[in-house]
């Protein structure tokens, strides 16, 4: 019995100390990792979607409170007017989170462009969501009033062949971005006013 208790106590103490230490590491490294992702993964993807913007969307970003979380918003400027916002979102794919950047044109409430930023999908299949530009191009110009779905589910997005789960995740991710956008639109409009000049 004594040995039993000792085993439980030792393992519990080890795990608690380890968890505590790691949460400190996470706090320390978290902001640095975010910067790195911003520069190396998300930044290039967002600049690619908004390549015609007159100002750099990554420098022109701000944070906004959405419920309990903070969202990064990237702003695109066209013809001297800030009218496009990029929201980040993610949904569960085949092998983990599929992270996306979704650009929305605020004047017409349509998708300006989308891009997959972070993912762990299968190379050659799901990974095409990031690599094959024709898949993401299907979203551009479409209205956000209805949710996006792949054609198998009755929507109008053709899924990547062999990667229906990933394609669904991309749709779900875009939908979550548009849902957040609809909720935050008044604040966003207030925020980006005058950012064009």
């Amino acid at each position: 019995m004594g040995e039993m208790i000792r085993m439980v106590v030792v393992l519990t103490v080890l795990s608690v100390v380890s968890g505590g230490g790691l949460s400190w590491v996470k706090n320390f490294a978290g902001p640095k990792i975010e910067n790195q992702e911003m520069n190396l993964v998300k930044g290039p993807a967002i600049r690619e979607i908004l390549k015609d913007s007159e100002k750099d969307p990554v420098e022109n970003r701000f944070k906004i409170q959405d419920g309990d979380t903070e969202r990064n918003i990237f702003v695109g400027v066209f013809n001297g007017k800030a009218d496009t916002v990029v929201l980040e979102s993610s949904a569960n794919g085949y092998a983990g989170k599929v992270g996306m950047a979704v650009a929305i044109d605020m004047d017409s409430d349509t998708i300006y462009g989308i891009s997959v930023t972070t993912h762990q999908e299968t190379p050659g299949f799901g990974a095409k969501a990031k690599e094959d530009p024709t898949f993401g191009a299907q979203f551009a110009g479409k209205s956000i009033s209805t949710d996006f779905q792949v054609s198998q589910d009755g929507g109008n997005i053709s899924a990547l062949s062999g990667a229906t789960i990933t394609s669904r995740a991309v749709c779900a991710s875009v939908n979550s971005a548009t849902a957040a956008y609809k909720e935050l639109k008044p604040q966003l409009a207030e925020h980006i006013k005058g950012m064009g000049n």
């Binding site: 030792v10 393992l11 080890l14 590491v25 490294a29 640095k32 990792i33 190396l40």
Partner: protein, 207 residues
């Protein structure tokens, strides 16, 4: 404690050098050594985990009950692996993207667990640290040389840096007419080159 600390350290460099002498932990060896840069990065990450886990296991060896030692080792090793993973993401993000899943997989690397079980759990802290460091440096050298051979044969050049420092760039070592040997950077090439290196090492007589 007949053997000195130096002996514990140097055995990892030749006599027990992983993965050649202890043919263990081949998964990252085959997976990441497509270039010297990745080999060095993976080797150094593993060295850090080995050194820290060996020291901590040795320090706690009287407290950890024998029946749950493996579980305790895994907790200790996993903790250090997450530290490495976070730090690599924070300071060497591109390297982290190249190594990808192999960093978390250090948790189940049998070299790390093997040293904890076979050495650190039975020895005092300084010899354990020397052992971990020696095996780690040996592992790094192996991965770096395997990576260098594969990168040279596969691309004809050696190019990269060590965690953003010490950049090196040797372009077209075999001259510009060199036809890249793609096989070397693919997985089967890793097996063949690893085998040839092991063979060459066995030809050198050991005392």
């Amino acid at each position: 404690m007949a053997k000195s600390l130096v002996a514990e350290f140097t055995k990892g460099l030749w006599k027990d050098i992983p993965p050649f002498r202890l043919v263990l932990g081949l998964c990252p060896v085959l997976g990441v050594t497509t270039s010297m840069k990745n080999g060095i990065g993976m080797g150094l990450a593993t060295t850090f985990v080995l050194l820290c886990s060996n020291m901590l296991v040795s320090l706690l060896r009287k407290l950890i009950p024998g029946k749950v030692r493996i579980a305790a080792f895994i907790v200790i090793i996993a903790t250090f692996v997450i530290v490495v993973e976070q730090m690599m993401q924070a300071y060497a993000y591109t390297l982290f993207m190249d190594l990808g899943v192999f960093i978390p997989l250090i948790v189940v690397n049998c070299i790390v667990l093997g040293r904890a079980e076979a050495f650190a759990f039975k020895n005092r802290i300084l010899p354990s640290a020397a052992d971990g460091l020696g095996i780690g440096v040996g592992f790094t050298l192996s991965l770096a040389s395997l990576g260098a051979i594969r990168e040279l044969l596969g691309t004809g050049s050696l190019k990269g840096d060590v965690f953003g420092f010490l950049p090196y760039d040797f372009a077209n070592i075999f001259g510009t007419g060199f036809q890249p040997f793609d096989f070397a950077v693919q997985a089967p090439g890793a097996f063949v080159i690893l085998g040839l290196m092991l063979c060459a090492m066995n030809l050198i007589p050991s005392k």
